[in-house]
């Protein structure tokens, strides 16, 4: 076989391309380009292909490109994939340069109210995702990717982590269920990821395996920056082991729950009332808090029902969850608003923090408002409330 293809071929495709390559004995590199942006970027696309042929030492090749306005990082990933599908032995990676604007880190306990899922093989959603201000963006290698395109998604996600400006959102990748997920890590760890989501996590060992492999890759690639983990619990066994999972790594930052799989696992249906998952969700919150990390709720899947979403967030907040999954950018604002402290909460927090400062200034060991004693956790919670308000207003 001397032919391979990669990418998407459909009249409805936007911001993506289809590439077909065929090895030749002679004739050099021949590029047949059909592009919606031929006049504006035709030359640039051809230049990229020639450059990549040189990088891979390819001398003779017929290339067919059907382009619907794919960004450079997408064309590069598609062409690299075509080459690697033809020659699976090739390991060399053609990497886009790091986007300087993405040079921000993260903190273990930063706000994680909203995390927006983006399918790993759909680059058209990437450049604007951060504009909707989610706390985190999840590039999904797992359920959002067709089994036949797992290899494609790895390259797209790797290039996106390097090239796309996510405007301050935390960069998360959901790897595949282990063991495949372990192989995903080399496309993620060296490329500026903040958080790795471990799906269908059932034991502490799942986390430890990811931690080991991430550690190895960090060392190999001389990565200094901390990478955090967010195990997602999606089964009865996972719920039973929740505390061990939550405390399996010091780099765990949060524990999340995935209810579609969980309800299937316990043999029931997901309902709006959520009676079937109430205990599991509470248990997950308790396990996360016991391990000193955040508890993150599942996604709300009806993108048209904003009132339902708002109610579900308020309910999640009351259970102790600090974040919610989003599958559409318009959900983000609603999630943030619903997680926001109420006026009464803010007022109370302001009073507590002011009293604490006052007491500190006077050198008093004990803080009180009126006849009520205020202890350290209360002050901490009040500070957190004000921090959330600040984040909301920025």
């Amino acid at each position: 076989m001397n032919k391979a293809s990669a990418g998407k071929r459909d009249p409805k495709v936007r911001s993506d391309c289809y590439i077909e390559i065929e090895e030749e004995k002679r004739g050099g590199i021949k590029i047949d380009l059909k592009s919606k942006v031929e006049i504006m970027y035709g030359e640039s696309i051809k230049k990229t292909i020639l450059e990549m042929c040189e990088f891979y030492g390819i001398k003779h090749l017929s290339v067919l490109i059907e382009d619907a306005g794919a960004l450079p990082m997408t064309i590069q990933a598609r062409f690299e994939l075509a080459v690697k599908r033809l020659h699976p032995e090739i390991e060399k990676e053609f990497l886009p340069p790091f986007n300087e604007k993405n040079n921000y880190g993260t903190k273990k306990d930063r706000l994680r109210r909203s995390r927006l899922y983006l399918p790993g093989n759909e680059p058209k959603f990437y450049p604007n995702a951060g504009l909707h201000n989610p706390d985190g963006i999840i590039l999904d290698l797992e359920d959002g990717v067709a089994p036949s395109e797992k290899d494609a998604a790895r390259l797209i996600v790797r290039n996106a982590l390097r090239a796309i400006d996510f405007y301050g959102s935390e960069r998360m990748v959901r790897i595949n269920q282990l063991p495949r997920g372990l192989d995903d890590l080399k496309f993620v760890v060296p490329h500026n990821v903040h958080i790795i989501l471990i799906p269908k996590c059932e034991t502490a060992d799942d986390v430890k395996q990811v931690e080991e492999e991430a550690k190895r890759l960090k060392k190999e690639n001389r990565i200094k920056r901390e990478i955090y983990f967010m195990p997602i619990i999606e089964s009865a066994l996972g719920i039973v082991n929740a505390y061990e999972i939550a405390s399996a790594s010091k780099n765990n930052c949060a524990l999340a729950i995935g209810l579609e799989d969980y309800t299937a696992d316990i043999g029931t249906q997901r309902t709006n009332e959520g009676t079937e998952s109430f205990v599991a969700r509470s248990q997950l919150v308790i396990a996360a808090k016991a391990a000193g990390i955040q508890a993150i709720d599942t996604v709300f899947s009806d993108v048209n029902d904003m009132d339902g979403l708002r109610e579900s967030v308020i309910e999640a907040k009351s259970l102790g969850f600090e974040g919610k999954g989003c599958i559409h950018p318009r959900q983000i604002k609603v999630v943030h608003e619903a997680f926001a402290p109420t006026e009464a909460e803010i007022e109370k927090a302001e009073k507590i923090v002011a009293a604490f400062k006052e007491a500190k200034k006077k050198g008093l060991g004990v803080v009180s408002i009126g006849s009520k004693m205020i202890d350290a956790p209360v002050v901490k919670r009040a500070e957190k409330v004000l921090e959330t308000v600040k984040a909301l207003n920025s």
Binding site: S15, V37, Y41, G69, L71, N128, L131, D165, P329, R330
Partner: protein, 518 residues
């Protein structure tokens, strides 16, 4: 073809289709003297006393109207993409062996690509109006015999009124008419709301033919076109496909990025202080524009603010605002959905307007300039705020001007645009075709931020403490070039072959469109 540099620095021809042209002089600089054009005096002696002007068919009407080679035939576009009358008209003209017609529509739609064969065989010499979709492509490839002339809705009225364009025969498709020629668009199987775009044609054409598929006994009342201006009335089986004339329902965009743009605009109007009791705005029927109206409505309700009038393109969203008391009036230029048509028919505060009242620049004022805020689209905007609506960065003509140029005279002009489409930057270093000068464009709202024209110091000041993402236009420009992989290359065009000219609202030529080299 001799080209000269106009006041905007663009090269434009001095003679087009044998007619001498005035190069653009700048905003509000060109004020022609003299009198308006007058249509010929007619006598009742030549018209039936019983008021019955019905003739057998379009062919007979055209013969009676004296159709000859080289004449100018006008049509209106209220039937939009459902129009079958214009195609039928030219089928008839072709069958009569007539050549070299100047077609003068108020706009064209993809349905009119039927006419390409008549442009090819010489039945139609050239188009003065808009060249949309396939017609734009045909024109851009240099295949049209004459040179296209693009005018705004107001510019079209001005050109007819000033005598720049003499209409020999106007064919006015009317959803309801009586035998005398009184006609309306607000009822009938092909109801389209109003007929304002045909007003100038009915007033100034030598001969006026009304074509209807709903002939009612005299009087058709209230009339929008006066029968006293009409020569002949023709019954046709149908004016067109109602579902393509007005939408059953117009839909707000689902694109999260466009919704974000719409939300930014509504917030901008609020935070800049433009949204206040008694204010006015214009919103069109594009998905982003509809969403903007929805967001603005929420803000108005929240703050208890009421508008004095809204200019449409009316849709159910504007109708809801009227019916919920959020505005006193809708001043409507065209209706986009069935709710708009119903409201215009039933609600005395839903007013039908015309390019004369709203847009004509050679009059004693017009409505567009009174608007507090106008939200428009664009295909390209450059870093000097100049904008393009007729062509894309690949050089091909694709859209008409519509009322766009006329609306630029509103107090605050806002362009709602995505910063790039697929991989094509919308903010560029220089527009492919100049349609609106930057000095009239105040705010660019993209999903990547809001750029305010530095000339509008008052607006910059008004929103200086806002949490909205106000950014210099150059910064957004740099950012999208980086995303798209560098500055886009310019199309290869033949700078010696002008395929169309763009008129400014005063009849001067603001830019040229060149033949694209395939």
């Amino acid at each position: 073809m001799k080209l000269v540099k106009n006041a905007a620095g663009r090269l434009v021809p001095t003679v087009v289709n044998g007619v001498k042209q005035v190069p653009y002089k700048g905003v509000a600089k060109y004020k022609p003297k003299g009198n308006k054009y007058g249509s010929p005096i007619r006598s009742c002696a030549d018209y039936p006393d019983d008021g019955n002007k019905v003739v057998k068919n379009i062919r007979e009407a055209l013969i009676k109207a004296g159709l000859k080679d080289g004449m100018t035939i006008s049509t209106h576009h209220h039937l939009r993409n459902g129009d079958v009358v214009t195609n039928l008209l030219f089928d008839t003209i072709k069958s009569m062996g007539i050549k070299n017609i100047r077609w003068f529509p108020s706009a064209s739609f993809p349905v009119h690509s039927h006419l390409i064969k008549y442009l090819e065989d010489g039945t139609i010499h050239h188009i003065e109006g808009s060249m949309n979709g396939p017609l734009g492509r045909f024109t851009s490839l240099g295949k049209m015999k004459g040179t296209g002339v693009l005018r705004s809705h107001g510019g079209r009225y001005q050109a007819v009124q000033d005598g720049e364009v003499h209409i020999d025969i106007a064919v006015i498709a009317a959803p309801t008419a009586d035998p005398f020629g009184n006609a309306t668009g607000d009822r009938g199987p092909a109801a389209c709301g109003l007929l304002g775009f045909a007003l100038a044609d009915s007033q100034y054409a030598d001969r006026v033919i009304v074509a209807t598929d709903n002939l009612v006994p005299f009087p058709c009342t209230p009339w929008q076109i006066q029968g006293n201006n009409v020569d002949y009335v023709v019954e046709v089986p149908t004016l067109g496909d109602p579902s393509k004339i007005v939408s059953g329902t117009t839909q707000v965009t689902k694109s999260p990025d466009r919704l974000l743009i719409a939300e930014y605009i509504a917030r901008f109007l609020d935070e800049s202080g433009i949204m206040k009791d008694g204010f006015s705005f214009q919103a069109g029927a594009g998905g982003t524009n509809l969403a903007f109206a929805v967001y603005l409505k929420e803000l108005m309700k929240k703050k208890g603010i009421k508008a004095r009038f809204i200019r449409g393109g009316s849709t159910k969203y504007l109708v809801e605002m009227l019916e919920e008391g959020l505005t006193d009036y809708i001043l409507d230029g065209q209706t986009f959905d069935l709710e708009g048509v119903r409201s215009m028919r039933e609600n005395p505060n839903h007013i039908n307007t015309s390019p004369f009242t709203s847009y004509n620049y050679h009059g004693k004022g017009n409505f567009a300039s009174m608007l507090d805020a106008v939200v428009l689209g664009a295909t390209e905007v450059d870093i000097n705020f100049n904008a393009n609506v007729v062509s894309h960065s690949d050089g091909y003509l694709l859209h008409g001007i519509g009322g766009w140029q006329n609306c630029l005279f509103g107090k605050t002009t806002i362009l709602a645009i995505p910063s790039f489409r697929d991989r094509i930057p919308v903010i560029v270093d220089e527009v492919t075709t100049l349609v609106g000068p930057g000095e009239l464009i105040d705010v660019i709202v993209t999903e990547r931020g809001i750029a305010i024209n530095p000339k509008r110091k008052d607006l910059l000041k008004a929103v200086r403490n806002s949490s909205l993402p106000i950014r210099p236009i150059e910064e957004i420009y740099e950012e999208i070039n980086q995303i798209c992989g560098g500055k886009p290359a310019k199309p290869k065009v033949n700078k010696k072959k002008v395929v169309a000219i763009i008129k400014w609202v005063d009849g001067t030529v603001i830019d040229s469109v060149y033949q694209v080299e395939e």
